[in-house]
């Protein structure tokens, strides 16, 4: 019980420590700020959780997110029809990448690490071709679409609400549906799952579609928020997402993990990044500290598990 909620305990302790060190930290404005900053990583990481629990890595999410951002901007969404087109195209893109990944890994059972590194390159190359390696931007974005990135509902930024909706939906799907049980079973023991009638190939396929679509949604939020982006944006984001998912206790071997853990992992990373910024630590050293945190968190988890077992 405690171990499953370890990440929340860690989060609580870190928040207390930072609050003691910096009075600005717990101001409502700063909290909203943190939540907005983590919303993009959160959506991507929740998506990645699905294939990972089903026993497969998706390293193509960063490139997919980048492509979706570029497409959403390049469609020049200035009025309702072009905004709809932009959203549909960006979303379709993530779903297509998900289908290709899922088809290769689920149906043909190729190694997921190598396959998604391959599709990552393909998607990245496609992004570069599409943009001719040039910066893309849009002026006068359709206001309703812009609201997806910059709007507020009451005190809450829209991206935070999208993250909350994704988290609730993801949690429900993973815990209260037959598909969610299939995902766990496929990752836990693929052969046993198959023998008991689970279509493991289709389960993995759908898990990859979820992760591709989530990456697209994150890309759309970014497009709506910044409205201009470099074509190599998003590369490397898969590692950030993986860090969050692993911090949240999802097993790399599959079969074990949760959306709530992933959300906690994302929160922890966001809180630490925010605290380091408040303490004036440069971005570069933040990167270094992030690496240390990842190692310590996973080491702690492994040690705790071996002591018990």
């Amino acid at each position: 019980m405690l171990r499953e909620n370890m990440i929340w305990v860690a989060l609580f302790v870190v928040v207390l420590l930072i609050a003691a060190a910096s009075p600005v930290f717990l101001s409502s404005q700063n909290i909203v700020n943190i939540l907005r900053q983590i919303s993009i990583l959160g959506v991507v990481a929740i998506g990645m959780t699905f294939p990972l629990i089903a026993g497969a890595f998706d390293l193509s999410v960063g490139a997919t997110m980048g492509f979706a951002t570029v497409v959403a901007i390049q469609f020049q969404p200035k009025d309702l029809p072009s905004a709809m087109g932009s959203l549909v195209a960006a979303l379709a893109l993530g779903i297509i990448v998900g289908i290709v990944n899922g088809w290769l890994i689920g149906i043909f059972k190729t190694n997921s690490v190598v396959t998604t590194i391959g599709t990552m390159y393909i998607v990245w190359g496609a992004t570069l071709i599409y943009t001719q390696s040039k910066h893309v931007w849009v002026f006068d974005m359709f206001p309703s679409m812009e609201a997806l990135g910059t709007g507020y509902v009451g005190p809450f930024p829209v991206p935070v609400l999208i993250l909350a909706a994704t988290a609730v939906l993801g949690h429900a799907v993973l815990n209260y549906t037959r598909f969610g049980r299939y995902v766990h079973a496929t990752g836990g023991n693929s052969e046993a799952a198959r023998l008991s009638g689970v279509n493991t190939a289709r389960t993995r396929l759908i898990a990859f579609i979820i992760s591709g679509a989530a990456a697209s949604i994150a890309g759309i939020i970014i497009a709506a928020r910044v409205k201009n982006v470099d074509p190599s944006f998003g590369i490397g984001y898969e590692f950030e997402g993986l860090t969050a998912v692993v911090l949240g206790g999802t097993s790399l071997l599959g079969g074990r993990g949760s959306v709530s853990g992933t959300v906690a992992g994302v929160l922890l990373l966001g809180v630490l990044a925010n605290a380091m910024t408040l303490l004036n630590i440069s971005f570069n050293y933040q990167l270094m500290i992030k690496g240390i945190i990842l190692i310590l968190a996973v080491a702690g988890d492994v040690i705790a598990r071996t002591r018990r077992g």
């Binding site: 496609a126 570069l128 990167l287 270094m288 190692i295 996973v298």
Partner: protein, 317 residues
Amino acid sequence: MRHWNWVRIILHQRVLIVLVGVVLLGAFISPEFMTASNFQNVQIQLATDGIIAVGMTFVIISGGFDLSVGSVLALAGLTAVGLQSSLGTPAGLVLALLMGVVVGLVNGFLVTKIGINPFIATLGTMTLVRGLALGVTDTKPISGVDENFATLATLPVLGIPLAGLIFLAVLVIGFHVLTSTVIGRHIYAVGGNLEASWLSGIKIDAYRVGTYVLTSFLAALSGVLLASRINTGSPVVGRDTPLTVISAVLLGGTNMVGGSGSLIGTLEGVLVLGVLNNEMDLMGVADYYQTIIRGALLVLVVLFDRFYIVRLARRAA
């Protein structure tokens, strides 16, 4: 049956066949391709990734994985160049290589003693070392001040640039160790079945730590050579390195699961990727198509291997 043998030969030597095709294509398409200067150019470019690929082959055969090589490559170059003015070039070189060994020890410790998944452990050290490289330099490159260092990588020894010669030496020694020594057999055993290896008295942790130290050391060596070639230590180089190197190793038929693979295959993989890149550069193919082709090649190879294995299994059954 004769017919089948041919098919099998083609299947077995598929990377070599692709390589021959790629080279022939280059010879036909670009007049510069077969020139001596281009040959030397390719050699130096290949050496950077190739040296690391030898180490990566060891790690993957022993059942591990190392994502930190690109960061180590960058930090080693920075160390070698950055310490020239204060400690002198030789001390800088030694410390750069030593840094590689230390990162390898940390990787090995995390994977064997703590039991962290190699993917995550080396992802952690990758981030950590990259942050360190970016942090100490404030994201700015450092220029070399020693002329001797600047010519080190291209220094002709027996008519071959030093970087190429080192790659060859590393490859030959690695090949000998893997194929003809007890150490090599144990590395295959450890990757094939860890539990069984331990039960038969092999010092499994020593071998696993050893492969990480070797890879990290070679990554540092490669970083030093790269820094020498461009006479600059840059904190941003090598972001692509782990993926390129791992692609080459897997292209060469080494299995991700561990226990099988060969350096001949890795050499073929490195050559295919390197020659293909060179050709596309010569032909003026834009970077972005190169990225796509690299990805497609990787997907095709895993897919092909999958069908090949399935077919072999069916034939055996």
